[in-house]
């Protein structure tokens, strides 16, 4: 039976427009080009900046207040004589967090892979609106520029933490970064949210309307399910952050009192009366918690696809996987209060949020077990993408398990805002999602650039990164359980914590190692774009539709008719077929049963 049926060998229907450099590379409306733009801007450039910031923070924590040539070079006036300033430490924390969560792992991750894969995997010629898609990218680009520019204003960028709780973020006299820096942060994020909403709406409409013949919702690859549900979560929750940001802007600039009341600062009483910072926390976390799933779900979707393909096995429990994505999406909107157990809100609310929070552990556990079962009796092809996917499952488990502690209000009292939290969320969301991004890049590089990445460099990249990630974030739990608060510029004023200082040095070493090995990735990535081995059409022998499209990118994705779909995406090693994969566009043979999933 031929696995490569139906689609190619049609002649070119050739709806060719005249393309200039500008319309092809810059103001492109083609989803594949926009995906690459997101990849370069969101993941690569913003990722490098975010990682550099984290390394500087780590060096400051390990060797507090010591002169450091790197600070001098990179921070300039913020590090007089190479000694990092306390204000700029908080700015680094803030902008690192913001860049990583929003720019790299929301826009970068979804922007790259939703854009690339939604049309290609559902069999559409492009996004529902190429124009909106282009606008979405350029708004994102603008928000990046503004965020970076905030480093060059007089009193530095926003420094109130990525959660920007008022009054700290609202009052310029409370902190240098709360002046112009915070204004730019808010403007940048408002634009970012607009971009994200346009993108999400586009993804949702495309998935609903543009699926090719035969691509029913129950035949959608899990990647698409994940991207689709992620977009819905985004549309539900980002507007709430936008409104919080707008109200904060009003408090800052127009004297309203939404979040402020009874404030005495720098010798004067301010006029604010009747507002509540706790209200802001509610609004922020109504986005903030779903946000971690906006970051995580696409990564899990990518992993589902890659693990199935490289195990040469169907993903185990397709239906349960879809159900857990939906359950996670729903539950994620009613757990935000677990960030606020000790914010001063009513303790009874705390109980409710503990309950909903621990509920969300159930679909997460189902997903983890289903991944593990997918590996069982597989024929695992250890491509770099597969390694990163397995790595993701590993960090997802390690990081997720400590959520049981943080979600339990009684236990959170004591570890809230300590390094225990930093360890938890970096593993479960930061590193996991980052692995998802890497897995996606290795896997779909041939689709994006028509060339292969070097696998041996991929192996080095994975193994060193994996060791560094555990080396950084695993011992960090213990530092947290020693009571060390996060967002501290130095711990040297607390002899109490002197006995974790050496551990902090070790963690920093691992962080530097992890940072260094990303250079291998960068080299591999850039080099492969130009000199990589030319890719075959379906290098991983995968079932999904994107691999039926020609290697060379064309407008409209398929030269002839769009392939029709006859089966789900996971017919790997199906009995009755010679090959160990059966692409979705291959019709069922006489008497073949489609798996009832």
């Amino acid at each position: 039976m031929s696995a490569h049926a139906d689609t190619h060998a049609h002649d070119d229907h050739g709806h060719h427009h005249k393309e200039t450099f500008v319309t092809k590379y810059i103001f492109s409306q083609d989803h594949k080009m926009i995906a690459k733009q997101y990849l370069i801007t969101g993941v690569i450039v913003m990722g490098i900046i975010g990682i550099l910031m984290s390394l500087m923070m780590r060096m400051q924590i390990a060797w507090p207040e010591e002169p450091n040539v790197i600070f001098e070079a990179l921070l300039g006036k913020w590090a007089p004589d190479g000694v990092m300033d306390a204000d700029i430490y908080l700015a680094l924390v803030t902008i690192h967090g913001t860049l990583m969560v929003f720019f790299v792992l929301t826009a970068g991750l979804s922007g790259t892979f939703s854009n690339l894969l939604i049309p290609l995997q559902i069999g559409a010629r492009d996004m529902a609106s190429g124009f909106l898609n282009m606008i979405s990218y350029w708004l994102f680009f603008l928000s990046c520029v503004i965020m970076i520019l905030s480093f060059f204003v007089e009193f530095g960028p926003a420094a109130a933490g990525w959660t920007i709780y008022p009054p700290l973020s609202a009052l310029p006299m409370a902190q240098g970064g709360s002046g112009m820096g915070m204004t730019l942060w808010l403007v940048s994020m408002a634009i970012f949210i607009a971009s994200s909403l346009l993108g999400s709406l586009n993804y949702i409409v495309t998935v609903i309307n543009l699926r090719t013949k035969g691509m029913s919702m129950t035949r959608l690859p899990l990647t698409i399910w994940a991207f689709f549900v992620t977009a819905i979560i985004g549309v539900v929750s980002f507007p709430v952050l936008l409104s919080a940001a707008l109200l904060l802007i009003m408090d800052r600039s127009f004297g309203t009192s939404f979040f402020l009341s009874d404030i005495f600062i720098q010798g004067e009483v301010l006029h604010y009366q009747g507002g509540s910072p706790v209200l802001f926390e509610h609004l922020f976390w109504f986005l903030g918690h779903p946000e971690v799933y906006i970051v995580l779900l696409p990564a899990l979707g990518i992993t589902s696809e890659i693990i199935a393909t490289n195990s040469r096995k169907p993903i185990f429990g397709y239906r349960a996987m879809v159900m857990s994505i939906l359950a996670i999406a729903f539950l994620s909107t009613i757990v935000w209060g677990h960030h606020m157990f000790i914010s001063g809100m009513n303790p009874f609310l705390g109980s409710v949020f503990t309950f909903t929070t621990l509920l969300i552990a159930i679909p997460s556990a189902v997903k983890a077990f289903n991944y593990i079962t997918t590996l069982w009796k597989g024929n695992l092809q250890m491509n770099p993408a597969m390694l990163f996917s397995i790595g993701l499952v590993s960090t997802f488990i390690t990081g997720g398990l400590t959520g049981i502690i943080l979600g339990d209000s009684a236990l959170d009292i004591n570890v809230h805002d300590t390094y225990f939290v930093v360890a938890h969320f970096h593993l479960v969301m930061g590193i996991s999602a980052l692995y998802g991004v890497f897995a996606g890049i290795y896997h779909w590089f041939p689709k994006m650039f028509g060339r292969m990445m070097n696998k041996n460099l991929g192996y080095i990249h994975f193994w060193v990164t994996a060791i560094a990630a555990y080396g950084v974030f695993f011992p960090m739990h213990f530092i947290g359980m020693a009571g060390l608060p996060r967002r501290y510029y130095t711990n040297s004023n607390f002899p109490l914590f002197d006995d974790v200082a050496n551990a902090n040095v070790l963690i920093t070493m691992f962080a530097l190692l992890g940072g260094a090995v990303q250079l291998v990735f960068l080299y591999n990535f850039v080099r492969s774009i130009f000199y990589g081995k030319k890719a075959e059409q379906n290098p991983w022998k995968s079932n999904t539709l994107e691999w039926t499209a020609p290697v060379e990118h064309i407008h409209g994705n398929w030269p002839g008719e769009i392939p029709h779909v006859h089966r789900w995406a996971y017919d790997y090693s199906k009995p009755g077929h010679d090959e160990d994969f059966v692409p979705q566009n291959v019709p069922l043979y006489d008497g073949e049963e489609e798996l009832q999933h």
Binding site: A62, W63, I70, A86, D87, Y165, P167, L168, L171, Q175, G176, L260, D262, I263, F264, I265, V269, V278, K313, F316, I342, G344, S351, W376, K377, G378, N379, L380, M382, N383, I390, S394, I397, I405, S409, A410, L411, I413, N414, N454, N456, L457, V464, I467, Y470, G471, M481, A482, P485, R487, N493, V500, N502, V505, Y572, S573, K574, D580, L595, H597
Partner: protein
């Protein structure tokens, strides 16, 4: 200097990695390699998966070994502390078991089923019984944890005012803490930041006309009599702060414009705590480490010798000196406390004209 040396070392490592990269790269030129994993790759990476499993176990053991003296699960100094610690230990044991087991399965399968040419994977797409099992096991375990957790939480957060707790206000400002005691009547006078009058040294904005306020006592150290329930009323004058008292398993945010509260009963005096073996050992260890950094510490003008004290830390980002916003807590016997409080000035007498 250490920083500089380390950076150099890291640079060397980077160069070494770089060289490795080059070698790999050159070795591949000309080989008919299409960059898809071969059986050999599968094998090597399969073994590395087992190696990584060992790495995870080793780093777990080492972390427990070197950092396993966990102040947040031992030596609590409040009545509800052991409750939290028990729950924490139970949770950690469960996590430890699940972690060990699932990481084993994941990495072992990755090793066991590493791909070989010609072998076919098992077409195995679903099994409702299995999935029901791993839905229900977490449900049961989590239900237990939730119930235990909620009982603990409720008993901590519901403050029983009939026990006549000592009422103390914790007042936060950038970047220090004040404590205000109710005085003889154990009742705090009204206060609002609008009443702050720096010239008259009314720094907390206490209402001078309130009779309850006259005998209030404002201090920069927090003294607590052992065994008596304390009810903290938290206030902040400028931005969010968080009153974190790790030894007492206590934390609550201080929110401008509102009064938050938290209550606990201290059970171990500072003097008793200093006599505990674990604490002695910890202090000795810290002092040994400090001795190595003698010059640096003295240069900063800090005391070289560390002595154990309970602390109140700020645990909510509040600006530049967030990292140094602390207050000493002293737990002492009722007599010591009485003697101390008698020496403090009352609010009425602390005002200047």
């Amino acid at each position: 200097m250490t920083a500089f040396l380390t950076i150099i070392i890291v640079l060397f490592i980077a160069v070494a990695i770089w060289q490795m990269v080059k070698i790999f790269d050159l070795a591949q030129v000309g080989a008919s390699n299409n960059q898809v994993a071969t059986d050999k790759d599968n094998k090597i990476n399969g073994y590395l998966m087992m190696g990584f499993l060992v790495f995870i176990y080793v780093i777990t053991i080492l972390s427990f070994w070197y950092l396993g003296d966990l102040p947040l699960v031992s030596n609590s100094a409040s009545e509800h502390g052991p409750q939290i610690d028990n729950l924490m230990i139970i949770s950690m044991v469960i996590i430890f078991i699940v972690q060990t087991f699932t990481q084993f399965l994941l990495h072992y399968f990755a090793y066991k089923y590493k791909g070989e040419k010609g072998r076919k994977a098992l077409f195995y797409a679903d099994n409702n019984t299995l999935e029901a099992i791993w839905t229900f096991i977490p449900v049961i375990v989590l239900a237990g944890l939730i119930i235990y957790g909620l009982f603990t939480w409720t008993s901590i957060m519901n403050i029983d005012e009939s026990e006549d707790p000592l009422v103390i206000e914790l007042y936060a400002q950038q970047f220090n803490w004040k404590a205000r005691y109710g005085g003889e009547d154990n009742t705090l006078g009204m206060a609002n930041v609008r009443l702050i009058d720096i010239d008259r040294a009314n720094i907390l904005g206490v209402d001078e006309s309130d009779p309850n306020a006259q005998d209030d006592i404002i201090t920069t150290e927090l003294h607590l009599p052992v065994g008596r329930p304390v009810l903290f009323k938290m206030r902040s004058q400028d931005v969010l702060h968080s009153a974190y008292m790790p030894h007492f398993r206590a934390q609550m945010n201080c929110v401008p414009g509102m009064i938050t509260q938290f209550g606990f009963t201290p059970t171990v005096t500072t003097a008793q705590m200093r006599e505990r073996d674990e604490i002695k050992e910890k202090v000795a260890n810290i002092n040994a480490l400090r001795a190595e950094r003698k010059e640096e510490i003295e240069e900063k003008g800090q005391e070289l010798l560390y002595e154990f004290d309970y602390l109140l830390l700020c645990n909510k980002i509040c600006g530049k000196s967030h990292y140094n916003m602390q207050m000493k807590i002293v737990v002492e016997t009722q007599e010591e406390y009485d003697a101390w409080i008698k020496e403090q000035k009352t609010f009425k007498n602390s005002l200047t004209n």
